[in-house]
């Protein structure tokens, strides 16, 4: 596990950082947010990869739990980043999702349907539905955590 973390894990984190920063440029986020949103994306993808390695279940369950926790990490991290940089959260959480989001699967659904492999298309369609739903739920949980944190911080200040 530790060996994995310092070889593949490190490489995957760097790749996710570059991918998120690149996607941020494609979405035209403000320049001063590119670096930070790259790190948010790297944190999310590392969470997903570690869970994918550790969990002893079937692929669909791995996808669901991995994406759920990764989305929560991204949501909380981008809440903090948004607070720190005084920018809307959407600037950090949309680019950070790019490694997780079911874009590749959605294209594979159509491609397999057209080339005559409906069973494979069905598998990928299931993945699209699972991942999209789970990410949306993860963001709701992250929103809840963020609000609780601000609430706590505000009441601590009053003491």
């Amino acid at each position: 596990m530790w060996h994995w973390l310092f070889t593949t894990g490190l490489l995957q984190t760097i790749l996710a950082y570059l991918a998120t920063a690149g996607f941020g440029v494609l979405l035209n986020i403000p320049r001063r947010a590119v670096n930070l949103s790259g790190w948010v994306g790297a944190a999310g993808w590392l969470t997903y990869e570690v869970l994918y390695q550790v969990l002893p279940t079937t692929i669909d369950v791995k996808l669901a739990i991995g994406n759920l926790v990764a989305a929560i990490v991204i949501g909380v991290a981008s809440g903090l980043a948004a607070h720190y940089k005084q920018m809307p959260m959407i600037i950090f959480n949309i680019p950070s999702l790019v490694p997780l989001v079911p874009g590749g699967q959605s294209y594979r659904v159509v491609r397999n349907l057209v080339t005559g492999h409906p069973e494979i298309a069905n598998q990928y369609l299931a993945q699209v539905v699972i991942i999209a739903g789970v990410i949306a739920i993860g963001f709701l949980v992250a929103e809840f955590i963020n609000r609780m944190t601000w609430h706590l911080a505000a009441s601590l200040k009053q003491l």
């Binding site: 790749l15 991918a19 996607f23 494609l26 600037i91 079911p102 874009g103 590749g104 159509v110 491609r111």
Partner: protein
């Protein structure tokens, strides 16, 4: 109390910029409601759909509509509207200055030059190919980078020149498929066309749109969420068909 007509137009413009550049419905409604409240109309009624916005001020018997025809992704504009809305809330700018600043946001905002975008598309394609599939032979890396750049450039220019939705995705995907196909004839072994294609389509693919569709539906926007989903499905179809056209020749 400020002038209701100017207020309604400003609120609508702010909402339209947010909606056209990738914000979720809940965020658009929230920002518009804040602007109206800060201008002295806390019970303004705001109704946001994916294709149009309505604002109505019950006290003055007035309402205005704005249709939304194009949706893209430009988070710099979202940030600018957010900043202006905060300044308006702090009363560092008044309504008139706010309206003028919004009109400027909508016309010209500093964007990354085209060369940066193409390099970003290359980075996204290559890194995600390696992250997803683990294939990293030199031919894979070069072909994927090339396909990602050409695919995105075609997508960008068709969008700019022709304004035809879904055609840009189709052309981009078709070129990606074509480059991968040519690569497979030029090289003999250590070549993974599936990995190359999955990396190269990543800048075009509607993953964020699908997730936003689910998020909008979950916040109770039962019309806008599914509408977004249909938009995402159409662009996934365009990309899938573009690739499938070339994959017959393997």
């Amino acid at each position: 109390m400020t002038e209701p007509k100017l207020l309604m137009q400003t609120t609508l413009l702010a909402g339209a910029i947010l909606l056209e550049n990738g914000a979720e419905i809940a965020r658009v409604e929230d920002t518009m409601h804040r602007i109206a409240t800060n201008a002295g109309y806390p019970d303004a009624q705001i109704f946001v759909l994916l294709t149009g916005i309505t604002v109505s001020l019950p006290e003055t018997d007035a309402s205005q509509v704005r249709a939304i025809h194009q949706r893209g992704m430009d988070l710099e504009k979202v940030d600018q509207v957010n900043t202006l809305s905060r300044q308006f809330a702090n009363q560092t700018i008044d309504l008139k200055q706010f309206a003028e600043a919004l009109a400027r946001v909508n016309q010209a905002v500093p964007t990354f030059p085209f060369s940066w975008l193409v390099i970003a598309a290359l980075v996204v394609s290559v890194t995600l190919m390696v992250a997803f599939t683990g294939h990293a032979t030199p031919t894979d890396l070069i072909t994927c980078g090339l396909a990602g750049m050409v695919g995105f450039a075609a997508y960008y220019w068709v969008n700019r020149l022709a304004h035809i939705r879904f055609l840009s995705e189709f052309v981009g995907a078709f070129l990606i498929g074509l480059i991968t196909l040519i690569g497979s004839y030029l090289t003999q072994n250590n070549y993974h066309p599936d990995a190359i294609i999955i990396g190269a389509v990543m800048p075009l693919v509607p993953g964020v749109a699908i997730t936003n569709a689910v998020r909008d539906t979950m916040t109770g926007n039962l019309l806008s969420g599914p509408a977004r989903a249909i938009e995402a499905i159409l662009s996934a179809c365009a990309i899938g068909l573009g690739i499938a056209l070339t994959s017959i020749f393997y």
